[in-house]
C-alpha cells in the first residue's frame, strides 16, 4: 500500500460541526437511556414515583431551569422537560435539532447515509413531539427507538466514513459526551442511593444498582465479569474498565487516540493542549484503583472528572475550531516547513 498524505486538512468550521453533531446525538441517546431505565424501575416499584424522577433532573445539571419552568418533579413534568421541551436546550428534541442543524451545515462532509439517518431520527422525534403526550407501552417503545436510531446513526458513521479527521472529530464528540453522562448518572445515583444505609445489600439496592448498569447497557457485561453487585464493583466497572465502551476510562482512552490521530502525533506524546490534557486524564484513570476513589469520595472524584472533561472540551475548541486571525498565516506556513 502506498502511503499518501495521512489525512487531509479539514475546515475548522466543518470539524466543529461534526464534533457537535456527534455530541448532540450522544446526548439525546443518553437522556433516552436515563428515562428508559427509570420507567422500567417504576414498573418494578410503583410507589413514590416522584422520588425516582427527581434524580433525572439532577443528572442534567439544569435543576434551576427545571424548578423555574416546571416546579415539582412529577413524572409528566420530568418527561416533558427531558423529551420534548423545545426551550430547554438539552431535551431530546432540542439535542436532535442541534445535531441536525450541525449536520446540515456539513452534509457534504459526512456520508449521505449518515445524514439521511439523522434526518429520519429528527423527524421521528419531531412527529412524536407534535403527537403530544406518550402513554404506557408507547412511552417505553419511544425511548427504545430513540436509542436504536442513535445506534443506527453511529453504526452508519462507523461503516461509511473514512477514518480521517471527520470521523475522529465525530468520535471525539461522542466519547467525551458519553464519559460525561456516565459520570453524571453514577454521581446522582450514588448520592441518592448511598445514604440509605438500610438498603445496602438488600434486594432494592440490587434493583437500583442494576438499573444504573442497565441505563448504560452495562448490566450483562458487568454480570459476566463480577456476577454479584456491590457498590465498589459498579464504580470500578463504570469508571475504570478499559474494555466496556460506555465506561469512562474506555471513552477517555479512545478519545485520546482520536485526538492523536487528528494531530498525527504518536500516543504517549503531545503537541497541543487537548492531547496533553486527554493523555494526562487517561493515565490517571489507567493507574487508578477503586478503593482510593471511594476513599477520596466518589462525588469529589466525579466532580474533578467533569471539570477535566470540560477543560478538554475548551482546549479542543481553542486548538481546532477557534478562528485564528489572518496575521497568523505566515507563522503557520513557517511551522509547516519545519514539520
Amino acid at each position: 500500500m502506498t502511503l499518501e498524505k495521512a489525512s487531509f486538512a479539514m475546515l475548522s468550521r466543518v470539524a466543529e460541526s461534526i464534533y457537535w453533531m456527534a455530541r448532540y446525538v450522544e446526548r439525546a441517546e443518553n437522556t433516552a437511556r436515563f428515562i428508559d431505565v427509570t420507567l422500567n424501575v417504576i414498573l418494578d416499584q410503583p410507589e413514590n414515583t416522584n422520588q425516582q424522577w427527581d434524580p433525572l433532573v439532577q443528572t442534567t445539571g439544569d435543576v434551576e431551569f427545571f424548578r423555574e419552568h416546571y416546579g415539582d418533579s412529577t413524572p409528566e413534568n420530568v418527561l416533558r422537560f427531558l423529551t420534548f421541551d423545545a426551550e430547554y436546550p438539552n431535551s431530546i428534541l432540542s439535542s436532535l435539532n442541534a445535531a441536525r442543524e450541525n449536520a446540515r451545515t456539513v452534509r457534504e462532509a459526512i456520508s449521505s447515509e449518515a445524514w439521511e439517518q439523522l434526518n429520519s431520527f429528527y423527524h421521528f422525534v419531531k412527529r412524536a413531539a407534535s403527537n403530544g403526550r406518550l402513554n404506557g407501552p408507547a412511552q417505553i417503545d419511544f425511548y427504545q427507538e430513540v436509542k436504536q436510531h442513535s445506534h443506527l446513526f453511529n453504526g452508519i458513521l462507523d461503516a461509511t466514513l473514512p477514518r480521517g479527521k471527520g470521523w475522529h472529530f465525530a468520535n471525539l464528540g461522542r466519547l467525551l459526551e458519553r464519559a460525561d453522562k456516565t459520570s453524571r448518572i453514577l454521581d446522582v445515583k450514588y448520592f441518592t442511593l448511598l445514604p440509605n444505609a438500610y438498603d445496602v445489600g438488600t434486594t432494592l439496592d440490587d434493583l437500583q444498582w442494576s438499573a444504573v448498569l442497565r441505563s448504560v447497557s452495562a448490566f450483562e457485561a458487568f454480570r459476566k465479569r463480577y456476577h454479584t453487585i456491590t457498590v465498589h464493583r459498579v464504580v470500578e466497572f463504570l469508571v475504570l474498565d478499559g474494555r466496556f465502551p460506555r465506561a469512562i476510562s474506555f471513552c477517555v482512552n479512545w478519545a485520546n487516540d482520536s485526538v492523536h490521530q487528528i494531530v498525527g502525533s504518536p500516543l504517549g506524546a503531545y503537541r497541543n493542549e487537548p492531547e496533553q490534557r486527554l493523555g494526562r486524564l487517561r493515565a490517571e484513570l489507567v493507574y487508578a484503583d477503586v478503593d482510593s476513589i471511594i476513599n477520596r469520595g466518589l462525588h469529589e472524584v466525579v466532580d474533578d472528572l467533569q471539570r477535566q472533561l470540560n477543560d478538554v472540551g475548551s482546549a479542543i475548541h481553542e486548538t481546532f475550531f477557534a478562528m485564528r486571525p489572518v496575521e497568523q498565516i505566515q507563522a503557520t506556513q513557517v511551522q509547516q516547513q519545519y514539520q
Partner: protein, 493 residues
Amino acid sequence: MPQDITFHDYQTEDYYDELFDAQGRPRPGAVLLAEKINSLPPGELAQRRDEIDRALLRMGITFTVYGDDEGTEKIFPFDVIPRIIEAYEWNHIEAGLKQRIAALNLFLNDIYHDQQIVHEGILPADLLEKAKSYRRQCEGLSPPRGIWCHITGTDLVRGGDGAIYVLEDNLRCPSGVSYVLQNRLVMKRSFPQVFEASRVRPVIDYPSRLYQTLTHLAREHVGEPTVVVLTPGIYNSAYYEHSFLAQQMGVELVEGRDLAVKDGFVYMRTTDGFERVDVIYRRIDDDFIDPQAFRKDSMLGVPGLMDVYRRGRVALANAPGTGVADDKVIYAFVPEMIRYYLNEEPILPNVPTYVCSREEDRNYVLANLDKLVVKAANEAGGYGMLVGPHSTKEQQYEFARLIANDPRNYIAQPTLALSRVPTVVGDKIEGRHVDLRPYILYGEDIWVLPGGLTRVALKKGSLVVNSSQGGGSKDTWVVAMNEQQIAESETPL
C-alpha cells in the same frame, strides 16, 4: 377503492403538449411511458408518488417555509410524469445553446475591454452605461482561459407555435441542477423498467463535468488544484444545492468566514492551519463577494478576494461582471451579438422583445399594455412585472407612467401560450404549463447537460413556475440516438 390514474381521459385542450400530439396520440418518445402508466394496477401510481415524496423528505431535499413558527420544511413538489424531448429536437436546442454561450462569452470579454460592439453601433452606448449589473471593477479584467460564464442555466419556453424560444440567460449563479440529479434518482428507483426501455440520456456525470470545468481554470503549474464551493450559508434557499454539489465533487463547501486573503493568495482555515485555495465556485452574487471591491456592508464575502483574482492567483466561476448579460434589455441584443461575434444566424430565437428605449417599440408597448408582459430590466423572480391580460386598468396606468419615466429600464414581450406536460393532480392527470432550464458548462469546450430542469406551474392555468409560487419540477428525459450512451437504471449515488 384506489383511483385509476391513467391517460385515457387526458385532454391537450388546444395547447402544445410535450407528450401528446394534437390528435391526442403519444409522441414517439412517449409511447412506452403512456403504455406503462395506462397499464399500472389501480392505486399504483399514487402509491409511487407518495413513496417519492417520503424519499425526498428523508433525503432532506427541502426548503424552509418562512414566517412559520414551526419551521415547517416542505419538499420542492415533484411530479412523476416526466417531460420527454426527442433526440432531433434536443440536437437543435443543444446547438443553439452552445452558439449562444459562445457569443455571450465574447460579448462579456468585449464590453470589459474595447467595447467594439458599442463602437460599431450595434449596442447603443447608453444601454450599457445604464445596465445596473455592469461592473466597472471588471474593466480590463482577463479571467483565466478567457472564460467568463462557466456555468449557465438558460430558461427556454415553447410557444403555442411549437417553437422553442430563449426566455432569459442566467449567467450569475443559476440554481436548480441538484434537483435535476435528484429527480432522476427517484425516477430510476420508481420506474426502472420504463426508464430502461425509453433510452434516456444520463445526467449523472454533471458533478464530474463541473469539477473538470473548474480545475481547467487553475494556474498551469498547480498539480492538483484545491477547488471549493463558496456558499452564503445555511439560510440561503439554495444551500442544499451548494452542499450537494460540493459533496458530489468531493470538495470543501466554504463560507466567507472560512476564507482569508494574505500575501496575494486566498487561504481556507483548517484544523491544520491555513491551506491555499486555487478555484472558487462561488454561489454568492458579485455584490457580496468582496466588501473591499463591491458592497462594503457584505458579511458573506472575503475582503481582498478581487485583488487576488485580478492578479490571476485564484479563479472565480462565474467571473464577476457576468450579470450584465442578464439585463433584460441587453438580452434583447443577443441575436445581434451572435451575428456580430460569430457571423452566424441564431439557432434559437429570443422571445420577440420590445425595447422601450426605442421610440417605435415604446409607442407600440404603451398602446398594447393589456396584451403584453412588461418586465423591468434588472429585476428577477417575477418582480417589477405586468402581465397585461391579467392586469387592471390602474396597474396598466402605473406601468405606462413607469415606462415614460425610465424607458431604458423596461421591455415588453407578447404573452406566450406555454406548452404543457401531463401532470398528476389529485387523482387524475391534467395538462400543466412548463418551462425548461438546461445547464451549460464552459470549460475546455462547451457542454450541455442533456435535459435540464423542467419546472411546472402546478396551479391550473398558471404560467408561474417558481417554487415560491406553487411551482414544482419534473424529470426531463432526452431520448438517446443510437450511438449515444443511455442512463443505467441502477446507479448508486
